[in-house]
Subunit: 332 residues, 2 copies
């Protein structure tokens, strides 16, 4: 580890990914790239929470099947989600019966999973690791904000939690883009307490990790075809560009935010998408497809960012601490 | 990885631990062994949640100081807790400014932290990792069950969430008991839905991991001076002994449960202690002291167990999925 950055000598590969997303999400870019485009965001279930975990289970099972493996072939399942006590991940792990390590990093769960999965496979501790996460607009909304039935007005700085899930299978054997290094984030808090303004709260954490990454590795933004942040949204995406620019780093040329591109932004979503399922579904479908089908995107710095608040912490007057973990994914 | 078990070639050492516990807890064995015995379970704070995170911060800072290191010397902080969105861990990470990976495994968070910390140090990804967790009776009670003011009657199968925190510092350099292998648990659910009977819900997960450990390693209970489960309590402790006995493994001779020994059991606690802080404070104080002071306890199988429910999952009629992760800690 140099600074905050870990290097992977054996370059674990993402040999398979799978994704699923809701009807609203599939009106945008995800529609063409997900393995399953839902026409019913309840996925045939009675509750939002059950629909959420069914999506996660689908993404994991599909990902394993696409690699022509079985669940018994997977050594470790790494997952977490936004719901209290990560019940989506835990209940999915109950179905899968794969040894399970629960992680929590809010909307940066996907990159934490890829990071720890790389550590486990690169170090020879596990041969195959599946990292996955997801979210559901309706379960998140009622847990974090208000019951949907209340019809609360959403402010213009708000984002829309993505209904979707994504999964990635890591192994040293097989083909696929590899993970060459990862930067572990520190928890940052710039004093934002508005729970409807996640982009502004999370941008400083993304900036801190991106700057740490360039400092540790000696690389510059030009070394990457794409710097992909996770669900900062349109406003947060602009803030992170400004914050790193103030430190002499210009990422504006090749920076894209998953939250900003996930929807064809209409009025409802305001700043774009958010939620653990946002970058999980965008990275594992659209971006993975671009990397594996010769689009010219060969080297990606994927820095997902999570807001580590709870309704209790906000209710007690706390500001919103955030963290961002970055992984470098590249074709070699 | 063989079966569910990971081996650590470089044998990461627990070079330092620190613990803190509440006044009720310090009436029992913890009183003699913790670094800080609180006389006020609010720890001078206005809310239970703030007291909980202050305990966690104390445990981490004290642990680092006891190793004669500074927070800047620590590569990674691994932590999680019982509160929604692991706010105790996240807010502690905000103060520490150490790169932070959030984990969630309910009451088995301590062993998941030691497991992942061993992976990170053994594989050369990090030089120093701190793994820590904690819990607070009052914050857990109002989140999972009822407001304290309601004075709800506790049934005889219930346990008492420990007010306390514990921290361990892992490194390949330095002195201390080492971690030689770890068994990653699968999520088990035997259909228990009584949220007041965690011991019965968790025992099958502990049994599954203990049996997997012996199957993978070819070892027997006699190879260990102590098989330490985490907070199954008196009832759950008996159930796990029965469950493994049915599979031909007798752990009754050297099995001890942290939940069973943490209190001088009086009426209030019924089956004993629970909560992420239970085995974290017992293992990192009492057990670590025994291992490092020539008590004859040289080889310990530490299998903490977590119940992965939430109030939403229980409210929706779900049973309680549980997981147990085991680490082997030994003097060499």
């Amino acid at each position: 580890m140099k600074g905050q950055t870990i290097y992977f000598k054996n370059k674990p590969k993402i040999i398979s990914t799978a994704t699923i997303a809701g009807p609203k999400e599939c009106c945008g870019i995800l529609g063409k790239y997900v393995d399953c485009a839902l026409t019913d965001d309840m996925f045939g279930e009675k509750t939002f929470e059950r629909a959420e975990r069914k999506m996660l289970l689908y993404a994991v099972e599909k990902c394993i099947a696409k690699a022509e493996l079985k669940t018994e072939d997977i050594d470790i399942f790494l997952s977490g989600d936004l719901l209290n006590q990560i019940i989506s991940a835990s209940f999915t792990a109950r179905e899968l019966k794969i040894p399970f390590l629960g992680i929590y990093s809010a909307c940066s769960t996907m990159s934490e999973g890829l990071l720890l999965g790389s550590v486990l496979t690169d170090g020879g501790f596990a041969k195959t690791v599946v990292a996955a996460t997801g979210s559901h607009f309706s379960s998140a909304e009622r847990q974090y904000r208000f019951p949907l039935e209340q019809g609360t007005t959403r402010p213009p700085q708000s984002q829309w939690t993505v209904t979707g899930a994504g999964s990635a299978l890591l192994s040293l054997k097989g083909k696929g883009p590899c993970i060459t290094c990862a930067t572990v984030g520190r928890v940052m808090d710039f004093g934002v307490s508005d729970v409807n303004n996640m982009g502004a709260a999370m941008a400083p954490a993304a900036a801190d990790t991106i700057l740490a990454h360039f400092r540790d590795t000696g690389k510059t933004p030009k070394d990457y075809d794409l710097i992909l942040t996770g669900d900062l949204g349109a406003l947060g995406g602009k803030i992170v560009e400004d914050l790193v620019w103030e430190k002499g780093v210009d990422i504006s040329e090749n920076h894209v935010d998953c939250g900003e591109i996930v929807y064809d932004v209409r009025e409802d979503e305001f700043q774009g998408g958010s939620g653990a399922g946002c970058c999980a579904s965008v990275f594992n479908s659209y971006i993975y497809d671009k990397m594996t089908h010769g689009s010219g995107i060969r080297k990606v710095l994927f820095a997902a960012t999570g807001a580590l608040l709870s309704t209790v912490s906000s209710g007690q007057g706390e500001t919103i601490p955030c963290v961002s973990h970055a992984v470098v994914v590249e074709n070699q």
